[in-house]
Amino acid sequence: MKLTLSPSPHIHSGNSMTKVMWTVVIAMLPALLVSVYYFGLGAIKVTAVAVAASVFFEWAITKYLLQKDNTIMDGSAIITGMLLAFNLPSNLPISIIIIGALVAIGIGKMSFGGLGNNPFNPALVGRVFLLISFPVHMTSWPVPEVMNFAIDATTGATPLGVMGEGLRNGETVSQIMDKLPTLLDMATGAIGGSLGEVSAIALILGGLYMLWKKVITWHIPVSMLLSAAVLSGILNLVNPDIYAGPGFHLLTGGMLLGAIFMATDMVTSPMTPKGQIFFGVGIGLLTIIIRTWGAYPEGVSFAILLMNGWTPLINRYMKPKRFGK
């Protein structure tokens, strides 16, 4: 009889990386379905290409450059691909999507040592690289048309774009809000934007699922959204004509997508509740600051990447309370 002699503990909770990854994928499905509903073939194309390219690049880099065992089965490349797709407009040319995947996986993840070692959210690294390199393609947003399977979709500006443009032209917030879809439309997804950011309800459903499965905790999303709401609320009270209110800010752009799926990325966020709240507050405040006073109408991606950079320092100083100290 062969007996195993290993150190304690001898039992395991059954938690596994694969389970975590698949929980996230399932949580993204409502938003994916909404994106197909409103952006049709374009959504399918962008998602499929982003995922396939991400997986391909991870496999190729692992096999030929790093010469290590292949890691694509852990599902993290699929998630990076899906999250990258969620940050892109549905009419993005295939070649640009592939470049985005290469940057996200190659530079954003593998160059740092692969899963667990990257300091910055890989999907956001890819998105921001594309935004800076292909600004025209990355800011032309197809108008949502239910079940649109035509190849060429008509394009228009997103609510954030309209707001930014309108304020620069001297219009007041309330004048601009009249031109925009209602807040309800913004919640359900009938607005322009990237694949994943349009439907608040679908994103929140996914977030609740991940909370229930204990894959994320409330600290980052809540602190990010609350601080964004508070700052935009204060600004709106100070001058309602030039500063849009919390309702607008929370439901537009990548705010919810960022709060629920991007900022909560385990690898790039702090390890303690205290640290996570500090992190979330930082992102919320930076997002509003960039949206209000920065050159880009959208601030979430930059805010998250900036706070990703702070994470090691946050981990160094915001440690859990030691028992008995």
Binding site: M1, K2, L3, T4, L5, S6, P7, S8, P9, H10, I11, H12, S13, N15, S16, M17, K19, V20, D74, G114, L115, G116, N117, M266, V267, T268, S269, M271, T272, K319, P320, K321, R322, F323, G324, K325
Partner: protein, 448 residues
Amino acid sequence: MSLKTFPKGGVHPEENKLSANAAIEIIEPQEKGLYAIPVSQHIGAPAKVVVKKNDVVKVGTLLAQSGGFVSANIHSSVSGKVKKIDVVTDSSGYKREAVIIQADGEDAWEESIVRSEELISEITASADEIKKKVSEFGIVGLGGATFPAHVKLAVPDGEKAEYLMINGVECEPYLTSDHRMMLEKGEEIMVGIRILMKALGVSKAMIGIENNKPDAIANMEKIASKYEGISVHPLKVQYPQGGEKQLIAALIGREVPSGKLPIHVGCVVQNVGTAFAVYEAIQKNKPMLERVVTLTGKSVANPGNYMVRMGTPIEQLVAKSGGLPEDTGKIISGGPMMGKAIASTEVPVTKGTSGVLIMKQDESKRGEMNPCIRCAKCVSVCPAGLEPFLLMTLGEKRLWERAEQEDTMDCIECGSCSFVCPSDRPLLDYIRLDKSKVIENRRKNSSK
């Protein structure tokens, strides 16, 4: 109603209390059986052998003398002849010195030991006499750590004992020996608690019991109601509720400072089994020579709880429970979270053997390790407030000083971190490595 519990962390593994309803069965010493009594069954210096080959011994005869203050006496648990003084592999996996006794089947006890089962409730011994007897009769903690009890009773100058905490928690999955003791020997345990209270000069005793043992809670509450100052507290079912520091924090909200002992916050903690042994020592002059051991496992035919003499090979318990199953992959001395895997069933039962857990082949292997995904589950479950992922990385990089700064010495080795890690990382293995290196460095530095 929310139950008391410790301030942070912890996990809730499957309880698997398969033997909870199995009444304690006595395993008698076997004629001609060989009983290996190790001289180190406790924390501290090994005891020094005082008998020699061919000496005739009775049950209760002193075999080895305590080797220092933090040490304990070792007594014979069977009557017979000393066959030899040899080394045997005990549950630690190391070869240790032991007195090997060939039992004569007579089961003859030392005359001084009171053999009747009658409950002696009245405590006539003084506090000093109690402490002397606890030391003389080799009483050590039966919770698994085997800390010499007389050391805990010797309150250092400058400290004062305010509470006696009685640990009836038994938070490890599978183990049920304390549970059965509270159900079947509750009266005796209560006398033991009163004896300990007298020895410490305290008027308050708190018994902590995890809420998955409602019958034990009810029984102990019934018995405690007869006495002043003894209260029973059901606690949340959360591992490691039975850890000394966690128990104190749960019961009275005081956190024992890092590096200090419970007496620093006015507490002395003893296991219920130890309280029973104290009762037998003071009232019946009986040394510590037998204990209840749970034999359990999903593949075991009849999981049970056995009152067994020290030195009995575990093989006898296995046989009583239906034999070693064919598909056994691991045999653990202790519980699944902190117990030690042993290499054979010849290992003798000692004062620290709280249970024997048989695991099937498919339960016995760890998963393959993956990179850390920084999910922070290990941080959220650590009851000591440490960062296991960091301590492992520091161990991999051999940065022992930094590990010491990150409070690796506060780790109670409960295993919650490794239990919960989705990447199957051997967190506790590296923390143990860090601790051993820190101790080594401290020793080197102090000898300079």
